[in-house]
């Protein structure tokens, strides 16, 4: 573990390997100025939907408030629906239906549907790891040094962890102030934080003997425990804060995807002919995250138009939460603009 951290640290700072205390960033003071440890702040600084800054993993579940897209979706024409988003003109390439295609056909939902007998926490853990591995396939492309020592995503190309004009994500420094970091550093710190969680067998247990199953009132007679002392994954040995950790991980992964789309869709993914792969992994990610309540509708904001498009073009089936969260009018407008309506 310390190898992993210090390896990254060395790469990042050019310093000698220094073991990093594997403390929880929630309880410990985040230290960003020496690159040791920090945690992501949960909300984007410039997001219209919120003003408060707080620590993600401490957040109580937010009430399901209607998202911006839904509110807009109630009224107006498709054109107005799309214009309500703060999008640059001309529109980004990735919103063009011709470039929003996939390498997979069929219903993605079958990939993330929990088998009925499987305990929810076990399934969530599985999804976290799979999506993390997928996302990292793409990050690696923009993060690995070229022969001249440069990475595609660097402090010059991406001085901030941005996702479009209105979103720039910050970290909390040791005085709990949000600070801006180049995307490369933000993502590096975030990756270290996530892998620290995933590799911690107290949070993600791996012993085969510790498994459980889901309750079914029709079949299982075991007392159905509900109440304050029951949590997702409890019976399978996951800790009390497991689900909120997973929510934070998904939120952070979402931000990375958002950065990849807004800052790197053409350079390099489109140039490298990887845009369909990226689309497929991201749409699978959104379907999973929404279906398992790992992302809330308002958290989808920077990528909302693409989600609308995928709902309108059938990538997201009508029975999915992602579809429910989409603004079909805006999606239809994008299809229309792309000559596909």
């Amino acid at each position: 573990m310390s190898n992993l951290f210090s390896g990254i640290n060395a790469r990042l700072r050019g310093t000698a390997n220094k073991p990093v205390p594997a403390k929880s960033p929630i309880s410990s003071t985040p230290l960003t100025d020496d690159g040791q440890l920090a945690l992501p702040s949960s909300l984007s600084q410039a997001s219209q939907s919120s003003t408060s800054l707080s620590i993600a993993s401490k957040l109580p579940p937010l009430p399901a408030s209607p998202s911006l897209s839904q509110t807009i979706g109630m009224m107006g024409s498709p054109e107005e629906a799309l214009n309500a988003y703060p999008l640059p003109r001309p529109l980004p390439v990735w919103l063009n239906p011709a470039y929003a295609r996939h390498i997979v056909k069929g219903n993605f939902m079958t990939l993330s549907a929990r088998p009925k007998t499987v305990e929810q926490g076990e399934w969530v853990a599985h999804q976290v790891v799979e999506h993390y591995r997928n996302l990292w396939n793409f990050v690696r492309v923009v993060f690995e040094k070229e022969e001249d020592g440069k990475t595609i995503c660097n402090a010059t190309s991406c001085p901030r962890m941005s996702a479009g004009m209105n979103h720039s994500y910050t970290w909390l420094n040791n005085r709990f102030e949000p600070i801006e970091l180049p995307a490369f550093e933000y993502i590096t710190l975030m990756q270290r934080w996530i892998s620290g969680k995933i590799d911690d067998t107290k949070i993600f247990p791996t012993e085969a003997s510790g498994v459980s199953f889901s309750y079914n009132s029709q079949i299982t007679t075991t007392a159905l425990l509900t109440g304050p002392d029951e949590w997702v994954g409890k019976r399978s040995g996951f800790p009390k804060d497991f689900f909120s950790i997973c929510q934070t991980i998904f939120l952070q992964m979402f931000r990375v995807y958002a950065h990849l789309y807004w800052a790197h869709f053409t350079e390099p993914f489109y140039h490298l002919n990887l845009e369909k792969q990226l689309n497929s992994c991201f749409s699978h990610f959104v379907l999973t995250a929404t279906a398992l309540d790992l992302l809330k509708p308002q958290e989808l904001e920077p990528m909302q138009p693409l989600i609308d498009l995928w709902a309108a073009n059938g990538t997201f089936p009508p029975e999915s939460k992602a579809y429910e969260y989409a603004n079909l009018k805006a999606g239809a407008r994008l299809l229309q603009l792309g000559g596909m309506a």
Partner: protein, 485 residues
């Protein structure tokens, strides 16, 4: 309207990127492709299991056991999910003994430390695979075994890798291989030959139905399970209809310079080579051949004895090459040595391409008309070979009159391995193989130390051995139905 237009997509320009980006592009491409292929397969299998579960839950006879069925299913699925999340490494296994060896790697009997289960672990060295250009071979074997779910094919549970090696964790087949049985008994009766041949037909048919040509059907690749029934192994040369398997292995073999020892002029006795081994009076020579055949199996060239002639030509070949190989095995079971046995690779090769003249039956061994007829129809030109229209025409040959192919696995096999424990290796040539240490505790870093990436997290950068392009997508994990709760 102009406000609604999309930014014009640039012309894709991969050339503007450096070699590392291009390399990473390829990795990313393959991993994404591989993820979905794997995820779809897993979802489909999961769906099948859920359907089966539903049927069992609805069955009136099982009413009293419904809770157990439900919880068992949940736990089994969960164990599989944990298996997927975690990283396999050599140190998870205690090595019991080396039981087999091929040119590229070795096969060991191992015990999983976590649950005490016994497996066969095949290890291939990455450096060898690269320097000897065996990558398509590695890939072919992994794919064929991962994709098949047949009782006739050795089951692959998982594949994993570290910096040095690739590993294939398979079910351990305690009966050894057919080569050992042949070495032990020298000759089979027609009844026993009929049994093994019928089972091998089923096995070859099963892999052909999956779209694979085995290309290396020979006695040391036919293994016996605990009941003495056969399973095919060693798909290293198998050819599926995938681009990454393409490589004319034998073509290459023949283009290599002939080693001096196998050059005909160096071999004075080879003048009459076509006539050797044709009588039982040549026992000494046959035994010599038998003794050397194990060693042959360990050598780079392998034995060409079972290879169909069209594999040596450039004109292409198809599924029927496996039926030729079976023909040579039937001959060997009945006669005691394969039909084109010779002292050197080169002489055997010469005999095979001259098969119309060199396929001879010894006078002093009594064979039935049907047996000879069957062999001659399989050791035959590709366009006339029995089996070219499918396995059914072989099954209908009079040699198999009365055989019920569908129930073969339910009848008792002629030789049932007498096993004394779950790690009984008496069917294997363990004494001929180098055994490191005294069983237990060999190889692999100590648990927790020196491992590569741990858990589900991935290292950032190229240090993760799984991220090395040639072996990308090698890692595979099968759902294990027989997990004990």
């Amino acid at each position: 309207m102009s406000e609604g237009e999309f930014a014009p997509p640039p012309t894709p320009n991969i050339e503007s990127y450096g070699p590392n980006a291009v390399y990473n592009r390829e990795r990313c491409y393959q991993l994404a492709q591989g993820f979905f292929k794997d995820a779809v397969r897993r979802a489909r299998e999961r769906h099948e299991r859920q359907k089966e579960l539903k049927l069992r839950l609805e069955s009136p006879e099982l009413l009293s056991r419904r809770e157990l069925i439900w919880s068992h299913s949940g736990k089994l699925e969960a164990k599989y999910l944990r298996f997927l999340r975690t990283k396999e490494e050599l140190s998870n296994y205690a090595i019991v003994k080396t039981i087999g060896k091929g040119y590229f790697g070795e096969v060991k009997l191992v015990r999983k430390r976590q649950d005490g289960r016994v497996y066969a672990l095949k290890r291939l060295f990455k450096s060898e695979m690269i320097s000897k250009e065996q990558l398509p071979r590695v890939r072919a074997e992994r794919d064929a075994l991962a994709e098949s779910d047949s009782e006739w094919v050795v089951k692959l549970f998982t594949t994993f890798q570290d910096n040095v090696s690739l590993y294939m964790l398979m079910e351990f087949l305690p009966g050894g291989d057919l080569m050992s049985v042949l070495i032990k008994y020298q000759i089979f009766s027609e009844d026993i030959t009929r049994f093994y041949t019928a089972e091998i037909i089923m096995a070859i048919e099963a892999i052909h139905n999956l779209g694979y040509i085995h290309r290396d059907i020979k006695p040391d690749n036919i293994l016996l399970d605990r009941g003495g029934h056969i399973k095919l192994a060693d798909f290293g040369l198998s050819k599926g209809f995938r681009k990454d398997h393409e490589k004319s292995y034998y073509q290459e073999l023949l283009q290599r310079p002939v080693p001096p020892s196998s050059r005909p002029q160096n071999n004075r006795h080879s003048v009459n080579i076509d006539e050797i081994s044709l009588t039982v009076s040549n026992r000494a020579q046959i035994n010599e051949w038998r003794r050397s055949r194990r060693l042959m199996a360990y050598s780079s060239v392998g034995t060409p004895d079972y290879i169909a002639p069209e594999l040596f030509s450039t004109n292409g070949y198809s599924f029927e090459i496996d039926w030729w190989s079976l023909g040579t095995i039937i001959y060997e079971c009945l006669v005691g040595w394969p039909p084109f046995a010779a002292e050197t690779f080169y002489d055997t090769y010469r005999k095979i391409i001259n098969w119309p003249h060199t396929l001879l039956f010894p006078d002093d061994i009594q064979l039935s008309y049907n047996a000879v007829h069957l062999i001659r129809s399989m050791i035959n030109a590709p366009d006339a070979r029995l089996g070219r229209n499918g396995a059914a025409e072989i099954k209908n040959h009079p040699f198999f009159a009365g055989v019920d192919f569908s129930s073969l696995r339910r009848i008792r096999a002629p030789f049932e391995p007498p096993l004394t424990s779950d790690v009984d290796t008496s069917a294997f040539p363990v004494d001929d193989l180098p055994q490191e240490g005294d069983g237990e505790e060999e190889g692999g870093p100590a648990p927790g130390g020196g491992g590569d990436a741990s858990g589900g997290g991935l290292l950032l950068g190229a240090e993760d051995p799984e991220m090395f392009l040639p072996f990308l997508g090698y890692t595979f994990k099968r759902f294990e139905k027989s997990y004990t709760a």
